[in-house]
Symmetry: C2
Subunit: 221 residues, 2 copies
Amino acid sequence: MEGYDSSQYEKLSLAVDLLVFTIEDDRLKLLMVERSEDPFAKMSALPGVFVGIKETLDEAAERGIEEETGLKDIYFEQLYTFGEVDRDPRMRIVSVAYMALVPIEKMNYHAGERTLSARLVDVEDLLSSDTKVAFDHKRIIAYARQRLANKVEYTGIAFHLVEEEFTLPKLQKVYEILLGKPLYKANFRKKIAPLIEETDFITSGEAHRPSRFYRLKKTEE
Amino acid sequence: MEGYDSSQYEKLSLAVDLLVFTIEDDRLKLLMVERSEDPFAKMSALPGVFVGIKETLDEAAERGIEEETGLKDIYFEQLYTFGEVDRDPRMRIVSVAYMALVPIEKMNYHAGERTLSARLVDVEDLLSSDTKVAFDHKRIIAYARQRLANKVEYTGIAFHLVEEEFTLPKLQKVYEILLGKPLYKANFRKKIAPLIEETDFITSGEAHRPSRFYRLKKTEE
DNA sequence: ACAATAGTGTCTGTGAGACAGTATCGA
DNA sequence: TCGATACTGTCTCACAGACACTATTGT
């Protein structure tokens, strides 16, 4: 701990790995990059950055998110820190995983400087198949997926996956995707009713009854 | 991230800070050490160790716990990683906080090599007073206290604060301390009944009705 | 017998789950 | 009018909260 003279210990590299989730076509998707360099060249990996010596972890995460997506001010939280010795075959790198959520309408991404491409991958498909993923990133994704499912139940985290103004059918779909099961409309609405407030807008142009837009009540998060 | 040549980044020191909780005299207590060196000499601090270059985070936490308490095989989990730039006034140290729980009957501790003493401090007293604590450790303690309260409600984490065989009044007390409020006996028992199983033992020697010992059912954690 | 704590029975209210019914749009 | 989706009313059941009652020890 801090009383030690730390110079007797070798220092190590600290990185932040980013899990940027969104919902597209009624599926949970995750932003991944294709690696251009070995190890794991041409394989999918999580985007990430090294933590600068004068940068907090949150700042590094924000910087990484902005580099990959151009987005600022999106929701993110620290997930867990992965510190296996041989995570990276080249050297010791400890990685702090951060999870970010962004509604698909705001989503944006592009290949980074050291990656061939960036794309949204279907999370359930990835986890249930035996697709190889670089480093220990598959495990990290599985961990994040789990956490996301848990937090949906007792927090308002799902609201970060829809725009500020949303319809209840859309929001319900988000809950269903994260929970992996269908919900009853009436019960769902009763449950979230205290968290939201009506707007004056409704959908239009579709061949069925329009739905009202709501927004999150101020008293939350 | 991992595609980078990390040598362009300065490396930093990574530590593990330990929060060893126990319950003594019906109060939540935390193991803290008194610092022998500056900065923060003579102040209370969390025990901790630096993470070795060939050591996982969990291994470092286990090693630290054993150094401070002599205990192995006690419950612990990673809490959160604190990475403010100026946490330590001397140099950049990122710290992964781990929380450990141990029943008071097994508890044991002694001053470390670079500390004056070790002791159990009352967590509520510490947090509600304006006692100074070294580094950002007070914040870490507050965070852990919060997490502990949350996890009591939806996990069996409280079982780690009692011995393998425990009476229900004792267990209830633990819940009450962690939750910060009294519980009804009857309701408490109904709630945890599915998690436990009877033993053949009961308390004796006290001037009132004896209570039965229970143990955790195998199907848990 | 009494003090003290262990342990149980049961009423009530709240909220999740389930399902059926009504409402409102475009075509 | 019809297909399709939005939205609501209500029954049931499980479970948490609250409280009163019974049980068993040592003194």
